[in-house]
Symmetry: C2
Subunit: 408 residues, 2 copies
């Protein structure tokens, strides 16, 4: 298939591009290096020393003989993106091309509006370009489980049947996103649902959980093919960040009681899910399809303990601390989101195991010298943005017995 | 109270400014004349010959001795709007400052993205400016009943209690907006709900029906105080547009079967509703309040027949025609939206009567020479935007017996 990957220079975009190229698809990537520029702005960086996109594409060609096409530009720019879609005529678009950070969107008004512009306007341009230049294309859009928030009822996959005053309808599942970033994803979902309804645009909305991991078969071919690995407060995902904190030797940053529960998945399963969505498109004329894309749920505290135990196996002694929660969120809540549709399509989950965490820790140790310690503890608060002061430790956790035993 | 009216040069903004000024409030208006500029772009115009905002404010001073303060600028410009709010320190903001046209937003990608930028970014700036410079201010935001779409269940006011798998929660009512414009209003509502939740920002979201009418007590003081009256496809509301079509002598533009049902209200009731919301703010710490702001429901066909009958009383013979529907919408649907909360606060509705329609027709006749006939029949299609071709008549309606009898 002809596959266009928006955000193809990113943490998930680049591994996806290599994976599909390996499978024999004709792959093109679009990126304008927003992530790299945001790191310049914040003074943070990827832990892994990543190559330029040009170099990545060259190395991929050297190592596999396969070509990944590259378009450098901004999807907010209609003149750019409509020409890419008109010329490449993709059969599927994997849309990772958005700013994915809740804290970054909460810094101040300028960041909140910038994230809105980047994500919402970019996505609108993609919708119109598909309508006008690739109407048979299947849009596979990455959203997030965070769009739903934490309602006191089970979360369904995109839609819920409601009975009310003796009548019934199946309606979009009500969403209560937890940051301006999460809001942009909800806006996008609503816009895509509308484009699907009025133009018949074929679309799958993937509400993805938090991704962890650093290795895929393709990444492992050559260190010059490494994907980025963020651990700073804006772009680092929970388990990855905990691994860096463990190696640096600062207490793992559990916000509040740490009972906040979320869905998680391995980066390899992201590739599998996106592939399943692409190879099994919704039938023509069907409404926007929604999958909840994660494999298992953990509380933040559970995740911290998993990292603590895995570190102990490697002889690293890790402390867990409860920090002042910079976010406004429910720390104790019901959480039972459904996620059967990708399993029905054949997803074979790789559940989180010690060996995976150890492999992440090993990679972190490999690149230990790159760690910028200033960015490991958050300072962006939901209430007032970034005033430059890091959040404080409220309470230290007694070390788990297992960790102490194994670690010594 | 100190009241800031965003969009104070508009159809509702200007009458609201005069109304509150008359009640003794300290009123300031903000506008950047987007509506006037959009009419320049489309070649359409207000039927009523409106004065410049400067002249309006001068005449208001002459006629009543009262001062309306004026700030000319764009709420998309943080530097502008934050200074207005910092200096004026409003106790209430009435936010009409958005592009309100479904067809305009459907012209093409540029209009869809422009409406998103204007509405969503402007509203975000207002939220941050309130947080930072007027945290006690009550935001009264105009949304639309069109945000809900036409679900097959009764529409509640903003929230719905859902029981699901043995658990319960009260969640935002699921919305299915019908145009990119309506989508921006949903995005705004979601952003305001979040600002309310994380910052305690005091907010009322008014899901307003379609407004009709041209006269208020203040407008009637002097023709130089007239508000705008749009009848073109982009900015004309249904009943107002039908009145112009009746006077010009073209068949009333009923889309499809005309069974699409919507909520309506008199412009005088808009003033009453906004005043009730302002004088009865939500209690501190309460969640975003939502009112459905309309007084009665009509199908498009019923509305056309009402205009037909009223015109007949004035000796005008009016034909109703069914046109190809340029929109993608359900033409037959359930419609039972709740609207009791404003009534509970004391709203005394002025229901639609022949005398009101006759007063609109009389004003239209007064300004008959201003009508630009090219803009009375729509040409913006939801499927493909504006290709310059007007929609066709599909079927002509046999004249109603009453109309024929009264009209001759």
């Amino acid at each position: 298939m002809r596959v266009l990957i928006l955000g193809g220079d990113g943490y998930l975009g680049w591994p996806t591009a290599m994976y599909f190229s390996k499978q024999g698809h004709a792959v093109a990537v679009v990126d304008n290096f927003t992530r790299r520029r945001m790191h310049l702005e914040r003074g943070s960086d990827s832990l892994t020393p990543i190559q330029s996109l040009h170099e990545r594409v060259n190395v991929w060609k050297q190592v596999t003989g396969k070509t990944i096409e590259m378009f450098v530009g901004d999807i907010q720019d209609w003149d750019f993106i409509h020409r890419v879609i008109k010329n490449f005529v993709p059969e599927a678009i994997i849309h990772y091309g958005e700013i994915p950070s809740a804290p970054y969107s909460m810094i101040d008004v300028h960041h909140a509006t910038f994230v809105h512009q980047n994500n919402v306007i970019g996505n609108l341009n993609v919708l119109f370009a598909i309508r006008d230049f690739a109407p048979a294309c299947h849009l596979i859009k990455l959203g997030t489980m965070g769009e739903y928030g934490t309602p006191n009822i089970d979360i369904e996959e995109g839609y819920i049947e409601i009975e009310h005053n003796g009548r019934r309808d199946t309606l979009p599942f009500p969403k209560q996103p937890g940051s301006f970033y999460h809001l942009t994803k909800v806006h996008d979902s609503n816009n895509i649902m509308f484009a699907n309804r009025i133009w018949g645009l074929q679309a799958t909305d993937l509400n993805q959980g938090v991704v962890y991991g650093i290795e895929t078969d393709e990444v492992n071919l050559d260190d010059r093919l490494l994907t980025r690995f963020d651990y700073d407060e804006s772009f680092g995902t929970a388990l990855n960040r905990f691994c860096v904190q463990a190696v640096v030797g600062i207490p793992l940053t559990v916000f509040g009681k740490g009972q906040q529960t979320r869905g998680y998945l391995n980066i390899r399963d992201t590739l599998q899910c996106v592939e399943l969505a692409m190879l099994n498109p919704p039938s023509a004329g069907s409404k926007m399809r929604v999958f909840n894309q994660f494999t298992e749920s953990f509380s933040v505290m559970q995740l911290a303990q998993i990292v603590q135990r895995a570190a102990a196996h490697l002889g690293i002694d890790v402390e867990i601390a409860h920090y002042e929660n910079p976010r406004v969120e429910s720390e104790v809540h019901h959480y039972n989101p459904k996620h059967s549709k990708l399993l029905d399509l054949g997803l074979k989950p790789r559940y989180l195991e010690n060996s995976l965490v150890e492999s992440v820790l090993t990679r972190v140790i490999q690149f230990k010298d790159h760690i910028i310690p200033d960015h490991i503890v958050p300072r962006i608060r939901w209430s007032e943005g970034d005033k430059g002061e890091k959040v404080d430790i409220v309470e230290r956790e007694a070390k788990s017995e297992e960790a102490v035993v194994s670690g010594d």
